[in-house]
């Protein structure tokens, strides 16, 4: 059964307070060299069907539920497979 990965990230223009908080915590941690952090979500889906069907099903799900298009972009791909660009 294909495993599909959906990556959901905040749109570039949306402030990501979590990412910013991590950046500001870096100095306390003594970590240097990390200049920017963005935090998003990663979903691993087990989907019935051949690879193509699975990708379509996952894209449909991402589009309708997993991502909120007002604030997020997403990408869908087979686990380990090549990156595929999502809607928009």
């Amino acid at each position: 059964m294909p495993r599909v990965v959906v990556d959901v990230m905040p749109k570039p223009e949306i402030l990501d307070p979590q990412g910013e908080a991590i950046v500001s915590a870096l100095s306390t941690l003594g970590v240097s060299g990390v200049t920017s952090v963005r935090q998003g979500k990663r979903f691993e889906l087990d989907v019935d069907g051949d690879d193509q069907t699975a990708l379509e099903r996952a894209r449909d799900l991402a589009d309708r539920l997993l991502a909120n298009p007002v604030i997020e972009d997403f990408q869908v791909r087979l686990d380990g497979g090549p990156r595929e660009v999502g809607a928009q």
Partner: protein, 223 residues
């Protein structure tokens, strides 16, 4: 006959008991609606209460939006039924695209429970006609994801059309754009806000009784 106001209970709704009580205090009859219902029992208005529908898993309101009762609420709202979304209810209305924008994690990253002063920015809505323009009211907020965001164009439109209904007046608890605490749709009958007017209806348990006017407003709006 008194007005009948539906209060939707999703699995995970929490402030539905408070919304029922607020409706009663305003002199109307609360009608319990269930997330699986396929009709609205002829109510005169609907409240989507606060809480964590479906645990707020994924994103607040994201799953509730697909429940059967929401299909009815969306249809009825398009036909002019007054709808009020409080906190989680506001999040559901945004996810359902009845209201523009989105509610994201508080800028301070923590859940915040605090009494806040709000300014009523417009009284031209189904739920605020009972206030004075510019009136300041004291109402609790309690949420972890209440930071209102929207695209620049949307914000400009909301401001131009005076659809920002409530604004945080003395300090912004969550980093909302333009200090926005609540907005309405173009029909001005669908209103969503993060603060909890239903917790400000009784001096014994709330910081004020400033919330009552919301529930009174809609009684004149529907007739």
């Amino acid at each position: 006959m008194s007005a009948r106001i539906g209060v939707v209970t999703f699995p995970g709704s929490l402030d539905d008991v408070d919304a029922h009580r607020a409706v009663r205090i305003a002199g109307a009859e609360p009608v319990a609606l269930w997330h699986g219902d396929h009709d609205l029992r002829g109510v005169d208005a609907v409240i989507l209460p606060g809480g964590f529908s479906y645990g707020d898993h994924l994103r607040a309101g994201a799953i509730a939006r697909f429940s059967p009762v929401m299909r009815e609420v969306v249809d009825a709202a398009r036909r002019g039924l007054p709808v009020l979304g409080i906190c989680n209810g506001f999040q559901v209305l945004c996810e359902a695209h009845l209201l523009p924008g989105a509610l994201t994690r508080n800028a301070g990253l923590h859940f915040v429970c605090r009494d806040m002063w709000l300014r009523v920015e417009t009284v031209r809505t189904a739920w605020t006609s009972g206030y004075e323009p510019g009136q300041e009211i004291l109402v609790p907020v309690k949420h972890g994801e209440g930071r209102y965001v929207a695209a620049a164009g949307t914000l400009a439109e909301l401001e131009a059309e005076e659809r920002v209904v409530f604004r945080y007046a003395r300090g912004n608890p969550n980093g909302s754009f333009h200090d926005i605490a609540g907005v309405c749709d173009a029909s001005r009958r669908v209103v969503g806000l993060m603060p909890h007017p239903e917790h400000a209806v009784d001096g014994l348990t709330g910081p004020s009784v400033d919330g009552v006017a919301l529930f009174l407003s809609v009684l004149t709006a529907h007739v």
